[in-house]
Structures are given as structure tokens and as C-alpha cells.
Symmetry: C2
Subunit: 97 residues, 2 copies
Amino acid sequence: MKLEYYGYLAAFLTTSSFLPQVLHALRTRDLSSISLSMYLMFVSGVALWLAYGILLGAGPLIASNAMTLLLSSIILGLKLREEIRRRAGSAPSKRRS
Amino acid sequence: MKLEYYGYLAAFLTTSSFLPQVLHALRTRDLSSISLSMYLMFVSGVALWLAYGILLGAGPLIASNAMTLLLSSIILGLKLREEIRRRAGSAPSKRRS
């Protein structure tokens, strides 16, 4: 299998894997067991991977990280909203993530 | 900043981001809002990224994906265990992920 295809297949899997998490979060509105710290760090890291991919001109890195950044930012946004509501006392009380 | 450092910094962020999620899952034992489909796809994709990195001989890819594979597999294992218990009727009933 051509080397490049490993990259594109890996990119497809790790990128599209965030889609079920986005759908699950939108459907259940429950992000209580998702770690806010994880997504703050993850989104920053993916943005850097995107910069790295652009500087390298590496297709799989650019394609996967642009999509992953979009999807993981949605989860981060939903989690931040839940956290803000929780602190404002309106969301059901769950342990801090 | 040397190009390589972008990769290593990105690798550090996206890799270590899974640590708070592992700790959160171990502390709360609650993975209900984590999507099983996400982690099945994500772990497979990361394994492929690792293969891609080894074939390329790219340091940042190898280092980050080996660690990410380890951490995300722990989350996958905890989630699978929760799912098995839920189906066996012993875990608190939560919507399917």
C-alpha cells in the first residue's frame, strides 16, 4: 500500500472519530464526563498540528487537522457552555471535570 | 522557531491532552457522555498514524502517537467495561453512546 494512503486512512479515522462524539453531545446535551482540560489542550495542539502540516506541505496532516480542529472545537464550545451554566447554577450539578 | 519544534509542541499538547480525560474517567468512573464509537475509530486511527510515522521515520508523529495510543486505549477500555456492565444491567442506565 502506498505510504501516503496510511496517512490519509489514519487522517480519515482520527478526524471522523470526533463526529460521533459531536452527535452524541448534541443529542444528549450531556458532556459531564468529558474533560474540559483535555479539549482545551487538544484543540490548541491540533491547531499547532495544522500549522506544522501547512509549513511541511503534508496533505494528510493538513486535511485531518483542519477537520479535527472544526469538530473538536464544537465539543469544546459545548463543554464550555455546560461549564458556564453549571457555575451559574442553572445546569444539573456534576463534579468539576 | 525551528519547524520541528511545531511538531513536537503539537505532539506534546494533543498527546498529553488525553491524560486529564484518563484521570477524570478514573476519578469519576463516569464515561457516560463519552462516545464509544469515537474511541473505537480514534484508537484505530492513532495506530495507523503510528505506522505512518514509523514508515516516514518522523519523530513527532512516532512519539505523539505511541503515547496517544496508550492513553486513548485506557479510555476505550474503561468505556468498553462501562458498556458491558450497562448491558449486563449492573451499571446505572444511561442512553446508548
